[in-house]
């Protein structure tokens, strides 16, 4: 009996370690390439780890000014996330508490999110040419905000509906205006959902590729688009690809690490009421 239990536990650990390796290995491989010399990258049999950690691949990105694309991504993703969260949360509050737009309005909103980006990318391009928004921060920020709004509204509506109405009514009687209720009661109460939704919104804007590819040239190129520049017709710059990808992973890694507990709660939203 006891032996069976021990074996079961051991098997579970083995399975867990195996799964972890499968998921982490590509990241490890990416990181190891970014620190390798060209010889090591193309060595056969493969060099499992770099002989010596060297930062030359990163230094090149800084020297050539390619890292500015990380900055571009950071500006576009951050500003569009803040805009989408601000607008979306206010819309969600209105829908949750005043039934704005009737019962099906939020279903209609979320259906907008289901449009494949490729379908609208060229109309948007033509529009942006007219507006002079191609290759500008504002162009991508507006587009990402619009694209993320349905998701934010949908998620925040759920979180806001979970806030006991009494808390808001109590604040109203105590002397708050609707705006004060929104800022002083609704936002603090929905803080967990706010962070979780913001992270997913940020990640979408950070990783978005199609719009960024079509709507940028050289001024506000984002990092995913920049990575594709290293795939050449003659050869691929694996060292640069790896180093740039690693730099692009860092902000997401930091965001997820800081907000992990909210993310777990965000994913399990609605699973357990309480």
């Amino acid at each position: 009996m006891r032996a069976d239990k021990g074996t079961g536990l051991a098997l579970r650990y083995v399975a867990a370690v195996a799964v972890t390796i499968v998921f982490l290995f590509p990241i490890y491989w990416l990181a190891s390439i970014s620190f390798k010399t060209p010889d090591e990258i193309f060595a056969s049999p493969p060099a499992w780890w770099p002989e010596q950690i060297q930062f030359a691949n990163y230094a090149v990105l800084f020297k050539d000014g390619d890292v500015v694309t990380i900055w571009n991504s950071l500006v576009i993703a951050s500003v569009s996330t803040v805009c989408a969260m601000l607008l979306g949360t206010m819309c969600a509050y209105s829908i949750a508490r005043f039934r704005t737009g009737g019962n099906l309005f939020s279903d209609w909103i979320i259906s907008n999110r289901m449009i494949p980006p490729i379908v609208i990318v060229f109309p948007v391009f033509l529009l942006y040419v007219r507006l002079g928004w191609v290759d500008t921060y504002i162009g991508l920020i507006v587009l990402y905000t619009a694209f993320n709004l349905p998701y934010v509204i949908w998620m925040m509506r759920g979180y806001i509906q979970d806030i006991p109405l009494e808390l808001e009514e109590s604040a109203l009687v105590d002397g708050c205006t609707r705006w004060q209720v929104f800022w002083k009661v609704v936002l603090p109460m929905a803080r967990g959902g706010l962070f979780a939704t913001a992270v997913f919104t940020f990640v979408f804007a950070w990783n978005e590729f199609i719009f960024a590819l079509v709507l940028t040239r050289s001024e506000v190129t984002t990092f995913p688009v920049q990575v594709t520049h290293y795939f050449g017709g003659q050869s691929n710059f694996w060292a640069k690809i790896a180093a740039m990808s690693m730099l692009g992973t860092v902000p997401i890694f930091i965001a997820v690490a800081l907000l992990q507990r909210f993310l777990v709660r965000g994913i399990s939203l609605g699973a357990v009421k309480g």
Partner: protein, 375 residues
């Protein structure tokens, strides 16, 4: 302090009419309790006073000012909610100070007033904690603190004790009453618990189906109910209702049950009841208005004897509830402990006929109330 006057108040939810024309006056400093079964409209009425629900027709007037269209914040009302409505992300201090801060009260005044309210409620030691770290009773105190800290003209309580266990509820009930005596503000309190209503109220407003069934001082309602509903709602255990016929026998108005048993009124009420003789009625007898007949003592004036076979005994410690049947109806009598200990015992009871009520079975209106006082 404030006077409240409500005239012709109607409230609809879609086609459902929650309030069907409420007229009500509450005097300055009065403790008024809205009581009634679930769905009777008592909470809706309270919420319209607070401004949390719009009114479809009628007027709510506070101190001579019609407040129908005023926002809740402009009515200067404080309200305690059923689920405490405390903000989990704020300390107890900030929870109590919330209303003052919303009205931009200077910080020194906030400190002073929160301190005073906390002292009054005995929660000074808890000011730095968060609501999560408090027990149910402590949370309720904080919620009351939030209300008293503001100099509101009207206090509203929406079933504030219904989430507490029985023992705590008794304690908090006494505290709320003491608090009202101390600060003397006009208070409206909603509950479905008739004991809370009886113990707290200067005036009870008993509601049913969106209308006020009867209002008045607690003992007035208890002793002189206007309808069968009022008679049955107040009092625990409930009043017993039995179909009967009123006849004149041996010169006295007499209740005759279907099984032939009788209860005769004394001379005084007999005269008053002559108009109803020969009618089928319902008699209402409170369990505590029956007592055991003592063989060595003559019955008091107006007491009618009846012999019953007990079929259920429920001792509560100080009192014992015994049940028996009259015809098809199960009747409960409240007796001192130890008088009857086993079902199957036959006992002789005396019914205090000065206190029974007679009800018209068609209209459910009380035709004749007792003349005696509940002692």
């Amino acid at each position: 302090m404030a006077r409240l006057s409500i005239r012709g108040l109607h409230k609809f939810y879609g086609k459902f009419e929650a309030l069907k024309g409420i007229d009500l006056d509450i005097a300055e400093g009065e403790f008024c309790v809205f009581v009634g079964p679930s769905g009777c409209g008592k909470s809706t009425l309270l919420r319209t006073i607070a401004g949390l629900e719009d009114v479809d027709d009628g007027a709510i007037d506070i101190d001579g000012e019609v407040v129908n269209t005023l926002r809740p914040r402009d009515r200067n009302i404080a309200m305690v909610f059923q689920n405490y409505a405390l903000y989990p992300y704020l300390t107890v201090f900030e929870n109590i100070a919330f209303g003052l801060r919303a009205r931009k009260t200077p910080d020194t005044q906030v400190r002073e007033r929160v301190g005073r309210a906390a002292e009054m409620l005995g929660i000074t030691a808890l000011l730095d904690r968060t609501p999560r770290q408090l027990s149910g009773g402590q949370r309720q105190r904080v919620a009351i603190g939030r209300a008293v800290v503001r100099d509101a003209r009207l206090f509203l309580f929406d079933e504030p004790l219904s989430n507490l266990d029985a023992q705590l509820r008794d304690g908090m009930r006494a505290e709320i009453k003491r608090l009202h005596q101390e600060i003397g503000k006009t208070t409206i309190y909603v509950t479905h618990d008739q004991i809370e209503a009886m113990t707290l109220a200067d005036r009870i407003v008993l509601m049913r189906d969106g209308l006020i069934e009867q209002q008045g001082a607690p003992l007035d309602l208890f002793e002189r109910p206007a309808t069968r509903f009022v008679a049955s709602f107040l009092g625990s255990p409930q009043m017993n209702f039995m179909p009967c016929r009123l006849e004149r026998r041996d010169g006295a108005a007499t209740i005759v049950f279907a099984d032939g048993r009788t209860l005769a009124f004394g001379a005084e009420r007999s005269a008053d009841l002559s108009a109803h003789e020969g009618r089928d009625l319902v008699i209402g007898i409170r369990p505590e208005h029956m007592s055991r007949a003592l063989p060595d003592r003559p019955p008091a004036a107006g007491a009618a004897p009846i012999s019953v076979l007990v079929d259920l005994v429920q001792p509560t410690g100080t009192r014992t509830y015994a049940q028996f049947r009259i015809g098809e109806v199960e009747v409960t009598v409240e007796l001192p402990a130890h008088i009857v200990e086993h079902p199957g015992t036959t006992i002789d009871l005396l019914v205090d006929m000065t206190r029974v009520v007679l009800i018209d079975p068609k209209t459910d209106k009380v035709l004749s109330n007792g003349t005696g006082e509940t002692g």
